[in-house]
Symmetry: C2
Subunit: 145 residues, 2 copies
């Protein structure tokens, strides 16, 4: 639901406060993690928005905020499943996190496929449309290289 | 990482406040949703726990809380990917949510496999052990029926 190109290349470092030293121990045994972060640019007013067009695109149907992945929502918490590249002390390096630099990370969980991976899940038509567009955009990019 | 049997049969209703009427519009086009809820039984002291044995089992290695799915964590937010059975107005009915009755739901998101489903993710040895035990327990149950 984001910029497919940017998402693939971004490397992010998540820094854990010294108060929590040790809280990452064992995370390196997982290839992927779930990162929960606070979309700190959502203002108080933004948080009362009920409906909107996905990604602000007027050509897509207006839906309730809980039917979108918008970072602007009553509790502006974003969830990303990302590959864990490295863990060194209180720092984890991940790939493809779409957080804005400086977003407070509020939780990290190990990614367990039996719990989080639902392949057969059906999505709305507008999500399918966005996914087709992303696939096309990536195909276009490959032609350039 | 929970009671495999209970998890499969629980049907939960999530009630959205009247202040947010309309926020679920369009969610019915998705077969699954991500539910974020607050583990409200975690005390303030619990939230400063750094390490622990997964599921309180001393036979499993002690690891950092961020390497576990424990509901007791600095920000006690749990994330579940569950089938959406029905949506009627401000109520959604889901299957297999492992929340304790009364847990405040803080966010609902549509489940998009291209974003959340990572099948090739590798997990720790202790997760594999728990999964083997669950599989055995379910097999045992099938014999009884």
């Amino acid at each position: 639901m984001k910029d497919a190109k940017k998402e693939r290349i971004t490397i992010s470092e998540i820094l854990i406060s010294d108060d929590f030293t040790g809280i990452l121990d064992g995370i390196e045994d997982f290839s992927h993690i779930l990162v929960l972060y606070w979309s700190h640019f959502a203002s108080k007013g933004d948080r009362s928005i009920i409906k909107g067009h996905p990604m602000g695109r007027k050509d897509l149907p207006e839906v309730g905020i809980f039917a979108t992945c918008s970072p602007v929502r009553p509790n502006p918490i974003c969830v990303s499943a990302v590959p864990l590249l490295e863990r060194k002390g209180n720092v984890v390096k991940v790939k493809g996190l779409d957080a804005i630099d400086g977003s407070p990370v509020i939780d990290i969980k190990p990614y367990v496929p039996s719990y989080y991976a639902v392949n057969e899940a059906k999505v709305s038509n507008w999500v399918r449309q966005i996914e087709r567009e992303f696939a096309e955009a990536l195909k276009g990019k490959e032609w350039h290289h």
